[in-house]
């Protein structure tokens, strides 16, 4: 026998189910008067530093039907590439930018929308800069464990080309699944859970 390492097992995930809105966005689901506002509905204010952008898109299942009961969360750096987190040791992030947002997909159209700013570049662990990106976390009925992916900005061609995470994608024809298309100040980013255009999801 040897000494036990003593590690615990992570609590296993279970699907968020069809009623995730009750717990995470009760006002959206019609339960008012409990919380003043749903958490994560606003990421920016008038003082937030950086280029204002809108991120929007839909999540499609394997039949091409948009999910109307999903919940999307995003996490991103501020315009200077700093995270608004206690674990951020490189400096102090913009106090007027939360970095975290939460949006239920529309119950009719399936669309999610975030009003945010374009993030700055954040270093990879070896010091190379990652391209500007937003982390997405998706939960819904039928999704047994939250799906994590990244949104990159299609117009950041040079930065994307040297991004150490994008470089790790073996099948280069899948890289465009992570690129949001620019249209004015809006970036369109659809997510495909299955099929030809299946989005690259991360285990990270």
């Amino acid at each position: 026998m040897v000494q036990s390492l003593g590690f615990l097992k992570e609590t296993p995930s279970q699907t968020a189910g069809p009623y995730v809105h009750i717990g995470c966005t009760p006002n959206f689901s019609g339960i008012t008067g409990v919380y003043e506002a749903d958490l994560g509905i606003s990421m920016v204010n008038d003082q937030t530093f950086g280029e204002r952008v809108t991120l929007r898109g839909r999540i499609f299942d394997g039949t091409g039907t948009p999910l109307r009961d999903a919940l999307v969360e995003i996490w991103q750096a501020d315009a200077k590439g700093l995270y608004n987190s206690p674990s951020e040791m490189r400096g102090t992030a913009d106090a007027n930018f939360s970095g975290w947002g939460r949006c239920p997909t529309d119950m009719e159209t399936g669309e999610y929308i975030f009003e945010t700013i374009k993030p700055g570049r954040v270093p990879y662990k070896d010091g190379r800069l990652m391209a500007p990106h937003v982390t997405l976390w998706i939960v819904a009925r039928g999704i047994n464990i939250g799906l994590q992916t990244r949104l990159y900005f299609a117009d950041e061609e040079a930065a994307n080309a040297e991004d150490p995470v994008l470089q790790r994608i073996e099948h280069r024809n899948r890289v465009p699944t992570l690129l949001a298309r620019k249209d004015g100040s809006t970036y369109h980013f659809d997510i495909h859970l299955q099929g030809e255009k299946e989005t690259v999801f991360f285990d990270i």
């Binding site: 003593g6 590690f7 615990l8 097992k9 992570e10 609590t11 296993p12 995930s13 279970q14 699907t15 189910g17 069809p18 009623y19 995730v20 809105h21 009750i22 717990g23 009760p26 689901s29 019609g30 339960i31 409990v34 919380y35 958490l39 299942d61 394997g62 039949t63 999910l67 996490w75 750096a77 995270y83 987190s85 206690p86 674990s87 040791m89 490189r90 975290w100 119950m107 954040v122 270093p123 990879y124 982390t135 939960v139 009925r141 039928g142 999704i143 047994n144 939250g146 799906l147 990244r150 995470v165 790790r168 899948r174 859970l193 299955q194 299946e198 690259v200 991360f202 285990d203 990270i204």
Partner: protein
């Protein structure tokens, strides 16, 4: 936040054999919602090592009391009164301070307050079904609610969910983000549920079953259930060359 220095290490690799796989055909909705290609596995970057942390000032007085947070003044939700409490730790056993927990559940009759809910059991006018709290410096939390009822759902012709409470948990890094469900000790329905059975390992399922806690039961008032939650652990940064130093 606690007085402990924030940690900046990468997270332990997630044990994907312990979690349910994406594709679990007995839970039918997963069939077209499960990615089919391999996930891209990477060591955490700063984007996952960091994460939002919420302050206690976020919380309203009744956020952790589902018996009263939707009820009319002087009234309360119908059902068996319970306290749910426990500790949020990481895989190293270290308590996770300031972890935001959000929970939601059906009422005592098994009915959710939701537009898309069609079960014939009645709504309770005094029960909304949502609550939240933030762990203390050592990772402990508690809230008060009524025990949810079991309910039928369209999957098989006659599938029922065991009584459960949904939990959403934030740690300190976005890679710790977790949604799960808590079940109740002694419920035979647990072992008949296709969603529960999406988890392959019996010991992993047992990790989701809260124990009846008679020691913390409040006499003549509410029974207690204890539900501990484990989030991903982190490596020490001591011997790693990281930009932000140690």
């Amino acid at each position: 936040m606690s007085n402990r220095k924030p940690e900046t290490g990468a997270f332990f690799q997630r044990d994907r054999q312990w979690h349910p796989p994406a594709y679990t055909p007995d839970y039918k909705t997963s069939v077209v919602r499960s990615p089919q290609r391999a996930l891209l596995s990477l060591d955490s970057t700063l984007s996952e090592i960091t994460g939002p942390v919420f302050g206690h000032s976020l919380l309203g007085e009744l956020d952790d009391d589902l018996i009263h947070n939707f009820a009319k003044p002087g009234e309360s939700a119908i059902g068996q009164r319970i306290i749910v409490h426990g500790r949020v730790v990481d895989e190293r056993g270290v308590g996770v301070a300031s972890a935001l927990l959000e929970f939601w559940q059906a009422n005592a009759g098994g009915r959710y307050r939701h537009k898309r809910e069609g079960y014939l059991a009645p709504l309770d006018p005094n029960f909304g079904g949502c609550g939240r709290t933030i762990t203390d410096e050592d990772g402990y939390y508690r809230f008060r609610t009524v025990k949810p009822g079991a309910y039928p759902w369209p999957n098989g012709v006659n599938d029922w969910r065991p009584a459960h409470i949904h939990f959403s948990v934030f740690g300190h890094g976005f890679a710790q983000r977790l949604i799960t469900q808590m079940y109740f000790e002694g419920d035979p329905m647990i072992w008949q549920c296709p969603i529960v059975k999406s988890i392959p390992d019996k010991a992993a399922i047992e990790q989701l079953i809260a124990a009846l806690d008679r020691q913390n039961t409040i006499p003549m008032d509410a029974r207690a259930y204890k539900f501990d939650i484990v989030l991903r652990g982190r490596r020490s940064t001591l011997f790693e060359n990281r930009l932000e130093g140690n």
